[in-house]
Structure formats: structure tokens, C-alpha cells
């Protein structure tokens, strides 16, 4: 099953711009142009260039080079959880 064709999970994948609304809610800033770096492989790029998985119990942003998880966000009732261990940094514009 090493075919990539017909990978519905990949077909559901969007780019990081699709996560702009959720990210705005968390950071109160437009994050799609924000620079970031993958803690796993060191790739640098804008948040909008990450792989976004939104059809899940939460939002998952992955590195397009190594597919490691960089950022996860869960809105759990009236609180929000953020895990950005997979990103060296996220540069947030003021």
C-alpha cells in the first residue's frame, strides 16, 4: 500500500492558509504570513506553507518537508489547547 494516488487523507489536506481563522482566534493576529521553523528538520517557511489537517478532532499543522507535527490546536469546550513543540518558533506580528 505504498501508493500515494488515492490517498484521501492527503486529498483532505489543505495548506496553512486554511487554518488562518483558527490561528487568528488564538493569536489575535494574521498568522498565515508568520515565519516559523520545523523543530524536526529545520525547514523555514511561513505558516501558510505548512500542511493543514482540519478534518480531525483538532487542527494539525505539519512540515511540508518532513511531515512532522509542528502545531496542534484543540478547542475543548470553552478553553483552547495549543501545542507548538514541533516549531522552533512562531514569529507573531504586533
Amino acid at each position: 500500500m505504498d501508493e500515494q494516488d488515492g490517498d484521501l487523507n492527503r486529498a483532505l489536506m489543505l495548506d496553512g492558509n486554511a487554518a488562518g481563522g483558527i490561528l487568528y482566534d488564538v493569536f489575535t493576529a494574521d498568522m498565515t504570513g508568520a515565519p516559523t521553523e520545523c523543530a524536526s528538520c529545520g525547514r523555514s517557511g511561513e505558516v501558510g506553507s505548512l500542511l493543514a489537517f482540519v478534518q480531525a478532532p483538532g487542527l494539525v499543522l505539519r512540515c511540508p518537508a518532513c511531515e512532522s507535527t509542528m502545531v496542534r490546536i484543540v478547542r475543548a469546550g470553552d478553553v483552547t489547547y495549543l501545542d507548538a513543540r514541533g516549531a522552533v518558533y512562531l514569529r507573531i506580528a504586533r
Binding site: M1, E3, N9, R10, M13, Q55, R62, T69
Partner: protein
């Protein structure tokens, strides 16, 4: 499933399946099978696939794909509820009971929890009692066809009595633990157990 709609008259009113009592609170019924994913489908060659039980066991055990298919399997007809609020009734699976797998290992008496880990980076945590007495199985067929990759094939864990995020796709193994180590969603606010009948969606529910 057509007979559900054609049984008026001659046979009298056919009873609808007892659906109301089978849909947990806050859930709605679906006929399709939504795909949810937190990452790309891992690419696993069947000749390299293994399922392993390790951690607090006297001796780890590991099965190849061919060995796994030779284990006694069963047909399961179960209802599935996802924390994103859909419920699908009467899903038919073929797979190996976790009871059968545990018979092959000798558990350390300290073992109380399982970390189910997948190809890719997914994990989920389960108390051992939730996996026993035929409550959980490793499925490799759904509706008599091989489980498709987007739904977790070649094989996934299925734990029908808990929210479906516990039913880890692309299952690779069980690690037996003394303490509960929260999994991919559980460590980010989701409930540690996830009973749909108690609406255990988030930590603190």
C-alpha cells in the same frame, strides 16, 4: 439495506431497528463513513508490516502480516461514535480479538494501561480492562473488503464502546505501561477515556 423501505403492507409494519437507544447523547446518525485525519496516510508495505506487544510483558511478541492473518479472527457487528458527533450503526468488521493477542504474552502484574501506537506519530491511551472480554479487536476487513488506507488499513484498532479516536488507524503495536501516558489527542484536552454514553469528550467532562 433496501428492505428497510419496502416492507409495508403484506408483512405489516416492519419495526425500525431500535435506533434511538443506540445513539449516544449529542450524536447524529450518518450512513456514509467520514474520513478524519491528523496526517498523511503512512505508507506501509505488507512485507514490512508488524504488530508488536511490548513494554511490561515478560517477553515482547511481534507478528508479521502473514502470521497475523493466521490468527483466529471473528466477525464483529458494532456501532461506532466519533467525538465529532457522528454515529454509524452496524459496521461489520473482521479482525483479531485483543484477548487472542494477549494470550500470546505474559503480562507483568504492574501493567495497567496500554499505549496503542501507529505507523506515523499517532498514539492513544487505554486502560487494559477496556481492551478485554472481546471489547476490542484489530480489524483488517470492513464490509468484507480489505480495510482501505484512508480508514486505517492495512489494520486498525477498533474499540467500539469508546469514541473513535481511540480506535487507532495504522496500528503498529501496544506498549504495556504501569502509568497512563496520554496520547495524541488526550494530551491536548481530550478525555482520557472517552465514553460516548457519558459524553466524555474533553478533559474534565
Amino acid at each position: 439495506m433496501g428492505e428497510r423501505f419496502v416492507s409495508r403492507g403484506f408483512f405489516g409494519r416492519r419495526r425500525q431497528p431500535e435506533q434511538a437507544g443506540r445513539i449516544p447523547p449529542g450524536q447524529y446518525l450518518v450512513d456514509d463513513w467520514p474520513v478524519l485525519s491528523a496526517g498523511p496516510t503512512p505508507r506501509i508495505r505488507l512485507d514490512q508490516w508488524r504488530f508488536t506487544i511490548e513494554g511490561l510483558v515478560r517477553q515482547p511478541v511481534s507478528w508479521s502480516w502473514d502470521e497475523f492473518l493466521k490468527l483466529p479472527s471473528k466477525t464483529y457487528l458494532v456501532d461506532i461514535s466519533c467525538v465529532t458527533k457522528w454515529t454509524k450503526l452496524d459496521m461489520k468488521w473482521q479482525g483479531v480479538s485483543v484477548d487472542t493477542l494477549f494470550q500470546a504474552v505474559s503480562l507483568d502484574p504492574r501493567a495497567a494501561f496500554v499505549t496503542a501506537y501507529s505507523y506515523g506519530d499517532y498514539t492513544t491511551n487505554l486502560p487494559i480492562p477496556d481492551l478485554l472480554n472481546d471489547q476490542a479487536f484489530i480489524a483488517y476487513q470492513q464490509d468484507e473488503k480489505p480495510l482501505t488506507p484512508e480508514h486505517g488499513g492495512p489494520a486498525r484498532l477498533v474499540v467500539p464502546h469508546l469514541y473513535f479516536w481511540k480506535s487507532a488507524k495504522w496500528i503498529q503495536g501496544f506498549r504495556l505501561e504501569e502509568r497512563e501516558r496520554l496520547g495524541f489527542w488526550e494530551n491536548l484536552g481530550y478525555h482520557r477515556r472517552g465514553d460516548p454514553w457519558k459524553e466524555e469528550r474533553y478533559s474534565g467532562d
